[in-house]
Symmetry: C3
């Protein structure tokens, strides 16, 4: 049951985990010591990439699983994979410059919103 | 199964998503540019509303779903709806002034704690 | 179904909730007023303990539940209990000094990674 969605979930967690490790690496490179969360623009961008990914998790993961349950495993997992790709593009762009974070952000936002809208439509159809 | 809880979950995500959009709007209004997370009290309050809602998500969502599974769909969804109302009151109050964030915070805290206590009681009853 | 994992989840939420209350208490002690998130090293450490616990929630909770579903309730709950213990050690260490946050962090990281690896292995086994 929901094996593809489970796989996409675990890959999304692995990517998120990588953004967390990247914050630690950025501390070493820029010399911003814990518990400070600012002090160097490179560190602040690395932190914002991780924080923004975290901020979208409660939108992405529940929408992904409600889509899997109320629509189907393969569709949810497919759109979830697009979300991960958008997050990778966002990571690469934002790591270079704040102005380059747009395209990846848009891809992952559209994927997350598609999962949310799909889940809402499917739940409402069953409620009426 | 759990259609009402699924609906309340999706509405809670929509509200959380709105608090995220509100942070972006506040950046435009106050001129605090990414990746900075401080620099203007209006922006800092908009950010704290979103961050605090995010901070409560891992308490609210698992407690909501464990209540739905171990107690019942309608009860969990009803208390979950109260949580959303408390969050809206919190949003309106805190947007005006930090001192006005109390009532909404209390409503959503009581709702989340009720879900947590209910789920714990139901799980313990089945374990003994 | 999954009663032990449900219990461990609720205990993990209770611990996380405690780290949130500790931030509020630290505001009173150190005089850092909302919405500021910095200004005193004791407050900043209390905030980082809570924020770091939050940051690991989307890794821990989905990995815990996918382990429970695809491996077994008792194993997942057991490793989840180790995660909570690691978090408590981390809390005590980091509350004293930033340099003392290592051992607890390592315990909880190993537990979360074990859950993730276990879930991934079990999902891949069923997919092939």
């Amino acid at each position: 049951m929901y094996r593809l969605t489970a796989l996409v979930t675990l890959l999304a967690l692995a990517f998120y985990f990588f953004t967390c490790i990247n914050v630690s690496r950025s501390r070493t490179k820029t010399g911003v010591k814990v518990p400070a969360m600012s002090g160097h623009p490179d560190f602040e961008r690395a932190f914002r990439i991780q924080a923004n990914t975290l901020e979208w998790m409660p939108v992405f993961l529940p929408s992904l699983w409600l889509s899997a349950i109320y629509i189907g495993d393969a569709i949810a997992a497919g759109i979830g994979a697009v979300w991960i790709i958008g997050r990778i593009v966002y990571f690469i762009g934002y790591s270079r410059a704040a102005a380059k974070r747009g395209p990846g952000f848009a891809i992952q936002a559209l994927a997350a919103i598609a999962l949310w809208v799909g889940a809402l439509g499917a739940v409402l159809l069953r409620l009426v």
